[in-house]
């Protein structure tokens, strides 16, 4: 089994009308044995930026802690919040620094920029980014997630419709993957704040 499939993960981020949604499963496994249904894979950086980390659990946590350190230092030195674009660039640079001994994580970044326009990015474990304007996926069942997103996604959805769309895509995607699922969490970010919901899905 590949190192990126050791713990299991599934996550999606989608762009809507002046809003974004980011969702992930909650399973932590050791190969086929499930160990936790409450493992955190989505991390809030500031009011308008989230990052999702899929991959080896220890690297998920270390990268999340490192990103917090870098973000705190940025805010202290520059006296302003990081925009999602800058955060994504920094994450990409952080991963490339470890080019020949990488962190085994494949992140997705989702946020709203200064004018509340949605920002999405996804990258591989050595920091190669892409910047689509519809959705990004990562994890052990990306083929399933891409299929669901391509089918269900429409541009310009409002926060509630976006929540429904991303939730259905995630839940259907994880059901055909043994290594992901066991609970799901969705954050919807608008200019007015963040709404967090837990999804009730199959616990298998």
């Amino acid at each position: 089994m590949s190192i990126l499939e050791y713990n299991g993960a599934a996550m999606i981020a989608m762009a809507g009308d002046e809003c974004i949604a980011i969702a992930a499963d909650r399973r932590l496994g050791v190969q086929y044995q499930t160990v936790s249904c409450e493992f955190q894979k989505l991390f809030q950086i500031n009011d308008k930026t989230f990052v999702g980390l899929a991959g080896l659990a220890t690297d998920v946590q270390t990268v999340a802690q490192t990103l917090k350190f870098r973000n705190d230092l940025y805010e202290l030195r520059e006296d302003r919040k990081m925009t999602p674009k800058v955060f994504s660039s920094q994450l990409s640079a952080l991963l490339y620094e470890k080019r020949f001994g990488p962190f085994f994580v494949e992140p997705i970044v989702a946020g709203l920029d200064a004018s509340n326009k949605p920002y999405l990015s996804g990258m591989d474990l050595i920091g190669a980014p892409c910047f689509p304007d519809d959705y990004v996926v990562s994890g052990t069942c990306t083929a399933n997630l891409h299929g669901m997103c391509e089918t269900l996604y429409r541009p310009g959805l409002g926060p509630d419709e976006l929540f429904e769309t991303i939730s259905q895509a995630l839940l259907a995607g994880v059901d055909r993957d043994a290594l992901s699922g066991w609970g799901a969490i969705v954050h919807v970010i608008t200019k007015d704040g963040v709404t967090t919901r837990e999804l009730k899905g199959r616990m298998d």
Binding site: Q65, F69, L73, L76, D79
Partner: protein, 263 residues
Amino acid sequence: MARRYDSSTTTFSPEGRLHQVEYAIEAINNAGTCVGILSKDGIVLASERRVTSGLLAPTKTSEKTYKLANHATCCVAGLTADANILIDQARLRSGRYQFQYGESIPMEQLVEYVCNHKQSYTQYGGLRPFGVAFLFAGYDDEHGYQLYQSDPSGNYSGWKATVIGANNSSGKSLLKNDYDPDGDGTMPDMVTALKLAVKVLNKTMDGATASTSAEKMELFTMTRDANGEFLHKILVKDEVQKIVDEVAAESDVEMAGGAESSQ
């Protein structure tokens, strides 16, 4: 006689003094005053802004008060350029501690780290000492709100209230009388602490009249909100003016009372 022993940091004089360090401390006694006061539910740091030209285009929000971490702030008396180096050191240390232990760095450890860094410039390398004194203010779970003062020698001490910079001795004598007037160990509340800070600055600032002094004062408070998050606030001009006016009114009342009783 001191001439021979004062050009190198790393040389003791025959009387056992480090002259370079003492000269660095002198540099701070010409710098803008900083007052720190511990209150029941927070900390007040008040500073004298030296440069208030209308032509100044400020890039940062402050030249005196700097946030070091969520739970810690400092204010600076001395060479701002030297201070920038040390402030960055403190921020990095705080961030690394948080990364390593998953919790905020205790105040004394942060202060000691910065001070050890300052000390190394008095013992190694043939470099001059940092010409900065700090007031560090912050909170940790072990000891609550704390205030520390540090100087170029790398020495530090904890205080309930203190003053650094120009005229700090007259500021300190005022605090000795007014910080805890009943002598029973009670701490003032935030409002009282702010007014006391303004009173101290009024005394230490040269030629300050009521109309100009509000612009030259920077008042900073650190408190906690209902969720336990720390609020770092530099008061805006109107809020500062309000406190300056209240202090002026109270001292007028005192003067009037004094004048009556002396008749």
